[in-house]
């Protein structure tokens, strides 16, 4: 049996790698042990996007039902936990809205347990919470989910490893090169400094882009707390003129 490293050892490794990458996570990031054999060792080849890469898949109301954006209404009863609204806009690198595009989310329940056969964390499953949702952005790029604030959960990267509470987000832009899968975090989480996945983005300003803002104006009296999170994708490669054309 391998002995797991301590948090102190992982924290030292995290410390050594601070500011060693740009705004994107380091793929080669030893403090996240599972990355060891799964990161490419060569720099990516720079390519000019062409053909299908200049377009994104189309999703519509045939694909996504409006009710899928409310993760608290998927079962007969109310899920346990802190009800939250998470809303914001999906923007391209020029700040233009990404309209009518698919946003997918998945998350743990309030106790920090995923409804997934591989999750062995001995925290209760909630019969009234699955933890997956989808929506289409509006014309202004806006999305909105109603859900339960996920709990932090333990994992076996190292001894006493805990992930900060997060919601996984999967996003498409207006062209396929903007495809993004990331995680949204909640402000002020005490686990941020200890978490090798969050810290794999070694630039603190870039990391903070993944943290939602508490917005009291989004909080509904007697009902739910509100968080705002805007997501900026990489720049699209089509010119506005291209967008008017059909391929």
């Amino acid at each position: 049996m391998t002995t797991l490293p301590t948090q102190a050892a992982i924290s030292d490794e995290i410390e050594e790698l601070r500011f060693t990458s740009g705004p994107q996570p380091r793929l080669d990031y030893p403090p996240y042990r599972s990355s060891r054999l799964r990161h490419p060792t060569r720099a990516p080849e720079v390519a000019d996007p062409e053909g299908v890469e200049l377009w994104a898949p189309c999703f519509g109301h045939a694909d996504v039902d409006d009710t899928e954006a409310d993760l608290t209404m998927r079962h007969p009863g109310e899920p346990i936990g802190e009800r939250v609204v998470v809303t914001g806009r999906v923007l391209d690198g020029e700040g233009r809205p990404v309209a009518h595009q698919l946003v997918e989310v998945w998350q743990a329940n309030a106790a920090g347990r995923y409804r997934h056969q591989r999750d062995r964390h001995p925290a209760p499953l909630d019969p009234n919470f699955t933890g997956a949702g989808r929506c289409l952005t509006g014309a202004d790029g806006s999305y909105r989910f109603v859900t339960i604030k996920p709990g932090p959960y333990p994992w076996r990267n190292h001894l006493n490893a805990w992930r900060p509470a997060h919601i996984h987000f999967s996003l498409f832009g207006t062209d396929f090169t903007q495809r993004l899968v990331t995680q949204m975090y909640f402000p002020g989480d005490p686990l941020f400094g200890l978490d090798p996945i969050y810290q794999s983005i070694t630039d603190p300003k870039a990391r903070e882009m993944l943290v939602a803002t508490y917005d009291h104006d989004l909080t509904a009296p007697e009902f739910s707390l509100g968080y705002r999170w805007d997501i900026v994708l990489t720049g699209g490669h089509r010119t506005p003129l291209d967008t008017e054309e059909t391929p």
């Binding site: 793929l27 996007p49 694909d63 699955t130 495809r179 993944l210 391929p247």
Partner: protein, 184 residues
Amino acid sequence: MTAAPGQTVGPFFHLGLPYDGGNELVPPGRPDAIRLHGRIVDGAGAGVPDAMVEIWQADPSGAVCRTPGSLRRDGWTFTGFGRAATDADGRYWFTTLEPGPTEPGRPPFFAVTVFARGLLDGLFTRAYLPGDPAARAADPLLAALAPERRETLIAVPEENGLRFDIHLQGDRETVFLAFPRRVS
């Protein structure tokens, strides 16, 4: 504006991302259907059982699909998008059609994304069709690569379709792509 950083898809993405029919862009058994399949392999040569592959492609005429319906397929409409999680051995498969060239003389390819636990950000690559060597020879990306690197981007013909293995690391590491922003 700075783009938001990616994060790993994690071990539990099956809860939110794969869906029924995701890997069947056309119904299996359709006469012109092909199987595009492969294995995602780590730096030790082991299959990656918790990875996900997406393809996005033109139709056989080279047209880019602008039709919704990838998440709930109607059995008739070709939408060009598919998603597959790997099995316990790291294998994935799609039933689809061969993409055509989106412009005359260009080599057709599947745009491919790869996500996995242990992979801190998604990866982009292309699976080029094995036919039309002249078009591939004229392709600037392929032409700039050493032959053994170039080979990692070309699907291998098989009786019922194509095989495209993806090596995340190692001697046969797949060529992954970065797309510079257009300066307008």
